[in-house]
């Protein structure tokens, strides 16, 4: 049974001048999952049409850094290492299919999660994505809206152990008077809010 909660009334926050303020985060948690016993986590690589490869690396590196800060004794596999190991194991296409099926609401092959976790030697897979991005240029109201999501899949059974989602609309004319702010800046702010809500893991209790 998944428990759903929301820290504020609306999922979307509006920010200006680069200040994210209080970003509401919607979370879903599987109370049966034991976060305390997690000994190793992996951050999976991210591709998004609105982010350069470098910016995508930066976002996943931020998640890996936050995971390490949150649980210093837990081994953290970076997205680069995860990418290399998944490719070497011949699991790249299966993993892509899993992500695609999830996005499309199709039937999920949870054994792929288990195989990937097994290959990476971790208990938990952290998967970042941006389910929604909208932007508009224009002198009157140039904005960028991003919904960022972090999902944690348990490696032993492939279930969704936790998910956090935050949306942020940013109007920031420091970059250009009539251009939408960069997606990466908005995504970083939204993801930062999501990471704040990530359950404690690896406490060993």
């Amino acid at each position: 049974m998944l428990h759903r909660s929301r820290r504020a009334g609306s999922l979307l926050a509006l920010a200006g001048l680069g200040c994210a303020g209080n970003v509401p985060v919607e979370t879903v948690v599987d109370p049966a999952y034991s976060f305390a016993t997690v000994a190793a986590v992996a951050v999976l690589p991210l591709f998004d049409w609105s982010l350069s490869i470098r910016d995508a690396h930066s976002l996943t590196a931020g998640v890996a850094g936050a995971a390490h800060t949150r649980a210093p004794r837990v081994r953290v596999v970076s997205a680069d290492d995860a990418s290399r190991l998944i490719a070497a194991a011949g699991l790249a296409y299966e993993w892509a299919l899993f992500l695609h099926d999830w996005r499309e609401g199709g039937e999920l092959d949870r054994t792929v999660v288990m195989r990937v976790a097994d290959e990476l030697g971790v208990d938990l897979l952290l998967v970042v994505d941006l389910p929604e991005v909208a932007r508009h240029d224009g002198a009157t109201y140039p904005y960028t809206m991003v919904v960022a999501r972090l999902r944690a899949f348990g490696g032993t059974d492939g279930v969704l152990a936790w998910s956090g989602t935050a949306g942020l609309e940013l109007v920031d004319q420091r970059y250009s008077v009539d251009r939408a702010p960069p997606v990466t800046q908005v995504a970083e702010l939204a993801l930062h809010a999501v990471l704040h809500e990530l359950p404690q893991f690896g406490t060993g209790r």
């Binding site: 999976l44 690589p45 991210l46 591709f47 049409w49 609105s50 350069s52 490869i53 470098r54 995508a56 997205a79 990418s83 998944i86 490719a87 070497a88 011949g90 790249a92 296409y93 993993w95 892509a96 299919l97 992500l99 695609h100 991005v133 932007r135 508009h136 240029d137 224009g138 002198a139 009157t140 109201y141 009539d178 251009r179 939408a180 997606v183």
Partner: protein, 172 residues
């Protein structure tokens, strides 16, 4: 020994095929005239060879895997590289498209878009993405005729400018 570099076809719903072929030609000519010793395989030749070798599905699967997971499948890349007898393959994609709010003035409607053109160089030797270059182009136009036709003109203009940026920006 020149690096055998294939250029894969650019495909986008709002970019007509003849415009796409023209962009590929400009890119291939610029790369061939550049400082690197390259032997270019043009996009139309690449498309034909992939089809003849039954590798179109493999190439499409590689792209699907990459744009879904961010991971380059080394097995699929090796199959494509061996089939085409190449060292690298360059792929262009139209990424982010940002529309500008229409401007109404003097009984005319001005439309504009800003597009991101993404160039990915896949390296056969390392079975990795060697580099990505990201170039933006912006184009505006007065609305005339159908919205679809105007959108296509906008996209072609913006992609053309992005190609200019790509060709004149420093290499990776």
């Amino acid at each position: 020994m020149p690096l055998r570099t294939a250029l894969s076809p650019l495909e986008h719903i709002d970019v007509p095929p003849d415009s796409a072929r023209a962009f590929e030609g400009r890119l291939a000519a610029a790369l061939a005239a550049g400082p690197d010793s390259l032997s270019m395989l043009a996009a139309d030749v690449v498309a034909r060879r992939l089809e003849e070798a039954g590798l179109t599905d493999v190439w499409n699967r590689l792209l699907f895997t990459f744009v879904t997971s961010g991971i380059v499948d080394p097995v699929d890349l090796a199959v494509v590289c061996d089939g085409l007898e190449i060292d690298r393959i360059l792929h262009l994609e139209v990424g982010d498209v940002v529309e500008r709010r229409p401007v109404h003035a003097h009984r005319q409607v001005m439309l504009a878009v800003r597009v991101a053109l993404r160039a990915w160089m896949f390296d056969c030797g390392t079975a990795q993405l060697a580099w990505e270059r990201w170039a933006e182009g912006e184009h505006d136009i007065v609305l005339s005729g159908s919205v679809d036709a105007t959108r296509s003109l906008l996209m072609v203009g913006a992609v053309s400018k992005a190609i200019d940026v790509l060709l004149h920006s420093p290499g990776p």
